[in-house]
């Protein structure tokens, strides 16, 4: 099966810091891939390059057979890669439903209506349906500024899902969520994403989440892939234990 995402020889340096060192990765459709690594290992740089926020110094990024290297985040989103953020990037004065409505407007960004009401029934219903998938319908009419961090995180992911992306990148989906809530939050994310059968790549520091939800793990260290494979194997790898997860596990 052809990979959804294929990167080859991706390099990125910030002065003397090597953030990506000849990265070559293939991600197959339907996979749930977790990126792990210490701070500065290059996980977020990888996400930023794939989504067009950073331009790689060299190398290629191919989505579903199409070279997307050098494209803007806007075009990358239109081509089928969506992302959520470690710190939710929402429109905090708008309600949760309005945030989703803005995301839905992105589907037809060339033809935004000057006069049709923003709360047109079809769009409102679609926004509510998406919120329901995440169990957030009760918060639909509340401004984001009044919602808790965990709820914001889910709204952020719901917005990324609006385009039914081929590849969904989630940056630490459970960061800032309490220990008791983290599995429930992740269950909800996986459940909500399932109907769209998106391929998921998620950055995660919590190894319990990684071992429970990922079917493949990429361990980053100094811009390189230290280990790649099944979570049971990668998390027991001595080098991963030494440089990524620490000796505790």
């Amino acid at each position: 099966m052809n990979p959804v995402l294929s990167v080859r020889g991706l390099d990125k340096r910030f002065g003397a810091v090597v953030a990506a060192d000849a990265l070559s990765i293939d991600i197959a459709p339907g996979q749930k891939v977790s990126l792990i690594g210490a701070n500065g290992a290059g996980k977020t740089t990888f996400v930023n390059m794939v989504t067009g926020y950073l331009k790689p110094d060299s190398g290629s990024i191919v989505l579903d057979g199409m070279d997307i290297g050098g494209q803007s985040p806007r075009n990358v989103a239109r081509l089928g890669i969506s992302r959520s953020f470690q710190i939710p990037q929402l429109f905090i004065e708008l309600t949760a439903a309005e945030n989703l409505a803005v995301a839905l407007s992105g589907m037809r960004a060339h033809a935004l209506s000057f006069h049709a009401p923003a709360e047109a029934q079809g769009r409102h219903d679609k926004a509510i349906e998406l919120l329901e998938r995440f169990g957030l319908a009760a918060h639909a009419d509340r401004p984001i500024s009044e919602l808790a961090g965990g709820v914001r995180k889910l709204v952020d992911i719901a917005m990324a899902l609006v385009r039914r992306p081929k590849l969904l990148l989630l940056d630490e989906p459970t960061s800032g969520v309490s220990a008791e809530e983290k599995f429930a939050t992740m269950d909800r994310v996986i459940h909500a994403v399932a109907p769209d059968a998106a391929t998921i790549v998620f950055v995660e520091h919590d190894m319990e989440i990684v071992s429970r939800y990922a079917d493949r793990v990429l361990a980053f260290y100094q811009g390189r892939i230290l280990a790649d494979g099944n979570p049971d194997i990668v998390l027991k790898d001595p080098e991963v234990r030494r440089y990524v997860t620490g000796s505790a596990r």
Binding site: R78, F85, S105, A148, G150
Partner: protein, 330 residues
Amino acid sequence: MKQGLHPVVMVLLVAAATLFGRVLPTWTLSLATVAASNALIALGIVVLARTGNVSFGQGLFYAAGGYGVALIANAWGITDAVAQMLIGAVCGGLLGLVIGPLIARYSGIFFGMLTLALSMVLYGALVKSSALGGSDGFNVGRPSLFGMVFTDPREADFMLYAVSVVTTGLAGIAATLLFRSELGLVSLAVRENNLRIEYLGISANRIVTINFVVAAVFAGASGAFALMAQRHIDPQFAYWTTSGEFVFVAVLAGYQSVAAVFVSSLALELVRSFSNLYLPNTWQLVLGVFLLGVILFLPRGIGSLWIRGRRARIGPVAATPVAAEEEAAL
């Protein structure tokens, strides 16, 4: 969902405001005309402010509208008030179409300073242009309406009042529909987080440009009304203090309500007129205190008086963020 006045009700309100001019004292007609004209350009600033950008140089389009109308009126003898208003709007809009895409790449203070700089460039050029009367400017004839010439001063004042109120009212209805529209919602989102907007596949620059052109059209039409009211134009139209006055109205109004722009513009003209009458040497002080009072007690502008109430009616909110999260988890 938010509720608002139906457009038909808004049209009726505009008609009522126009007819109200028949019973207004003569001295208030010109005051109300100026207030309506200023409200029109301030409305454009509010439209733009919803994307998070404030123009300190709307005088550029105000002057473009005014000079465009004056030159065309003198060259071709066009005196019709509606035609002049349309010419002013087109002149402002065309200039906005040229400048908008270039300036939309900037934001915040850079955006504001660039608009200010461009208006001062035009001011400098107009002052030096002897063909346009230099710093003295030049005069234009009395406006007419659909072939009718008004020699009675009260009738002439009422005609201008009616045309400016109807135009500003219709612009207000258009702006209200725009605010409620998909584009209006996305504009608010650009104001808050244009990075996320790009990640959603939307061009933030395009949204800013569209709003910028709308603001330029309103400013051009407003410049035409100022020209008709004064029957004279000079480079002061493009000067930075002129632009500042319009920002003053927009700040008073806030960015959440169209009606607030009209209320603010009228309030400002009333405060200016009465303080000028009773405190002729300190009227600027009164204006300053008035603005400070609004900023202190209504930091989101006069419009927040009724918009805040509407938000509160949407529904009860969770008492605490934790409660909200617990509810979400259910």
